[in-house]
Symmetry: C2
Subunit: 180 residues, 2 copies
Amino acid sequence: MNELKLEDTIALLGSTPATLIALLRDLPEIWTLRNEGEGTWNAFEVIGHLIHGERTDWMPRARMILDFGETRTFEKFDRSGHQSEIEGKTMSQLLDEFARDRSENLARLRAMNLKKADLARRGRHPALGVVTLSQLLATWAAHDLTHLHQISRIMANQYREAVGPWNAYLGVMQCSGHSS
Amino acid sequence: MNELKLEDTIALLGSTPATLIALLRDLPEIWTLRNEGEGTWNAFEVIGHLIHGERTDWMPRARMILDFGETRTFEKFDRSGHQSEIEGKTMSQLLDEFARDRSENLARLRAMNLKKADLARRGRHPALGVVTLSQLLATWAAHDLTHLHQISRIMANQYREAVGPWNAYLGVMQCSGHSS
């Protein structure tokens, strides 16, 4: 990942809050508070998860790579961490929080003024082992996309019956790309 | 699908243009002009396909159900029809065209003032046979979602290598839900 690609990554990361606001802010609850069945998330919970990532995952790990390299292992990410982020809040509040957190994180990322050599620096993931800063930042962007992909699938699932025989034509209804 | 659900459908259909504008308007070409390999679409082509649907699929079929019921079969949808819609245009132009077409179609849909009995009316699809107006309108909304799902997958595919070992954790990289 060279500096040009870092700009591509930042462009995508910068567009996600407005995308989710346009998609979710004014929708009826059928689209935002229903999930894909027991043990799955609704769109509201996904936004909580994105907020939790902004606070505990991406930038803390980037900072750890720059400060400690492979000598310190990242904190394990808490996949239940969204629960405390969403409690008592509305979708609109969560979307605003996510937009603010993301904007602040991108300002911090730009202030790091990363060079090609920085992007090649290595850190240690608790399960995956050695990873680079470049891979971490690419994953931050791809993680936005995996959750946009998930939200569109959760929403489509609410119309699984309503579409009748068209179900067979709609790829989203056949998606098996669930994140682990 | 009762009248309440028709409002849910219209809410989603109304949000899609702004979602796609927020996601795609200002992104570098790596995200908008690359595809998933030979014979697949990039995000630019997907928007062209959505425009073609606005012009030839959803509302003409709804009109046909109301006017002719099962006695007339829908025109076959042209899955290459987007090519003439996109030629010589920029992403920004396509997004504006889609937003305008969608807005006009929703105004026409509201003007139909559909009642529960109308939504149960039946038409004839060239491959699927008998379908209802309710199913057609639900599919219009789910079709937006299948293409948002597809666009997020096309975009994530550009970082398949860049994310390194995180690939295994990202559901979007394992998605098999491709529309037919």
